[in-house]
Symmetry: C2
Subunit: 325 residues, 2 copies
């Protein structure tokens, strides 16, 4: 008889004592919400838990209760008898300490990314789930853990983050079932949404104005590109994280099928976010052709030793045939 990978993971977690809980670099709401919630669940079962992330938690997510628990100095990993990696589709996204982290065994992986690349010892990969937060919710039920308000809050934030507040096609009846259960723990939807979405600073609004002014439309307005060169960030006193959701503006144009956001990162790379609508435009494939990855409707890539103009040209070669065929 096949054992569901979740059940095997439950068994493993039950016997673990010192658990390292991690997620991917540049963590978003689903990554951090799932990480903190998983930590709380394991702690409620009497485990020692260490939450590690190589960067300090971004100011955008510091509202998550328990976000201060995430430590950015990794202790000697020989003290851990289990690691849990959440929302991480590729071991390279574990960051610069990847090798030390992967030295912990058993290494449990819980992820929902399409195109997940297998790593670790025990894996529960569910690309049909809208968020890793939902998977942590199910796991907490299987573990018999009582969810605290703080844990419910983090999981709700995780779900809302990764579904764009229940707007993305990944949203399922199950997503709603779990969201409803989390509300019963006292989570206030407007509060969490307010923290996730009403956190614009004036600086950030200024950045948005510059970025929107860069809008270029191609292929009878079916393809939209916006850009953020380094000096946009410098001029407005903002950082890359401030530009996070801007791709939604070109994406929301009625005629647009594919949208791209090209930005120059602090490290001199050019990063591209790609979004598409419906099932006809697979941007994951486009991203993959540049060594990037992601989902059909949301993908990304990074290129070195290049410029925004060069990347735009390369993208047009791939995207124009995609939107016009």
């Amino acid at each position: 008889m096949m054992v569901h990978p979740r059940d095997e993971i439950v068994r493993t977690l039950k016997t673990a004592t010192n658990v390292l809980v991690i997620t991917h670099i540049h963590p978003d709401g689903d990554a951090l919400g799932s990480q903190i919630a998983m930590g709380n669940v394991l702690r409620s079962l009497g485990k020692n838990v260490f939450l590690y992330g190589e960067e300090p938690v971004s100011h955008l997510y510091r509202f998550l209760p328990g976000s201060t628990q995430v430590e950015s100095v990794l202790p000697d990993v020989s003290g851990f008898d289990c690691a849990v990696a959440l929302d991480c589709g590729d071991c390279s996204r574990l960051g610069t300490s990847m090798e030390s982290l992967l030295a912990v065994h058993p290494f449990v992986v819980i992820d929902h990314h399409t195109g997940h690349k297998d790593f670790g010892d025990l894996r529960w990969i569910a690309p049909d789930r809208a968020s890793t937060g939902e998977m942590v919710y199910d796991l907490s039920e299987s573990l018999g853990a009582e969810l605290s308000f703080e844990t419910a809050y983090c999981l709700y934030a995780a779900i809302v983050s990764d579904t764009g507040s229940f707007k993305y096609s990944s949203t399922t009846a199950d997503t709603f079932r779990i969201a409803g259960e989390l509300l019963k723990k006292g989570v206030k939807p407007a509060e969490v949404s307010g923290k996730l979405f009403d956190n614009f600073t004036v600086k950030r609004l200024n950045l948005m104005r510059l970025v929107l002014d860069s809008l270029q439309l191609y292929a009878s307005d079916r393809l939209a590109i916006i850009e953020a060169p380094r000096d946009f960030f410098v001029k407005t006193g903002t950082c890359q994280a401030d530009a996070e959701t801007f791709i939604n503006y070109p994406r929301s144009l009625d005629t647009v099928k594919v949208a791209a956001f090209i930005k120059e990162t602090e490290s001199g790379l050019v990063s591209v976010s790609l979004r598409s609508k419906g099932t006809d435009y697979d941007v994951a494939q486009v991203a993959a052709s540049f060594g990037g990855g992601g989902h059909r409707n949301a993908a990304g890539l990074k290129l070195g030793e290049t410029s925004i103009a060069e990347v735009r040209e390369k993208l047009l070669v791939k995207l124009l045939p995609l939107v016009t065929r």
Copy 2:
């Protein structure tokens, strides 16, 4: 024993034969979605149904399956043995045919507005519900009606409209329960959300850029004002409806407690939308002092024979003390 008003309405609807189904003027997604869904439910039970609305359905909602059923010529009302008014908080919002409509008996009212003003013969008023769509869902269950895909689609659109995609504080565990059930009928969340929210035109984005450039901050960034003089609309080829949601941008600034959007209307009036956050800033009172109205966190007013600059000054007199006290 008290009979729940819903049960009385169920009894009434079961015996009705020719039912007039209506909603408020300038109907939004909840109003139209509920109206069409209610019509479908009654038709599935063998009733003759007439959907009336004095204006043709706005282009924003023509994606709702069945929207063409809404007729804008009212037949002789003596043929109806029941009327159902959905999402209408005040009989004056029934429009210019109010008197004819109210001549139908029994007149059933189903609404969720806080501050609902009673009218009609049988009323189910539930201000704790996030949308009238949820109430129609419950009613369809009590009536034993099988929900079609089209009906589920309309109800889902109704819920998403009136909760801002599950972001507003009105969202409850019940909202999620019903949303989940509607998905099981085949509704695709991304499709409905796309139709409701991804309908930005390039013209509208251009208008938004102009309006955002008008941002003024006062009182240590606690008060934000944006403006749209007539020439913004002319320059971009847009109309007033295109500016509908722009107040959300100043409102979403982290430091802002109160936001105002002043625009010149086609009819030469100056209209003001006011938004506030939390319980400390009652913008309904400010609106009322100018003859306007609304809720604590969302209100509006209109002034004649004046200019944007004059209205801005008058507003500052009221709003500066409000945000700084």
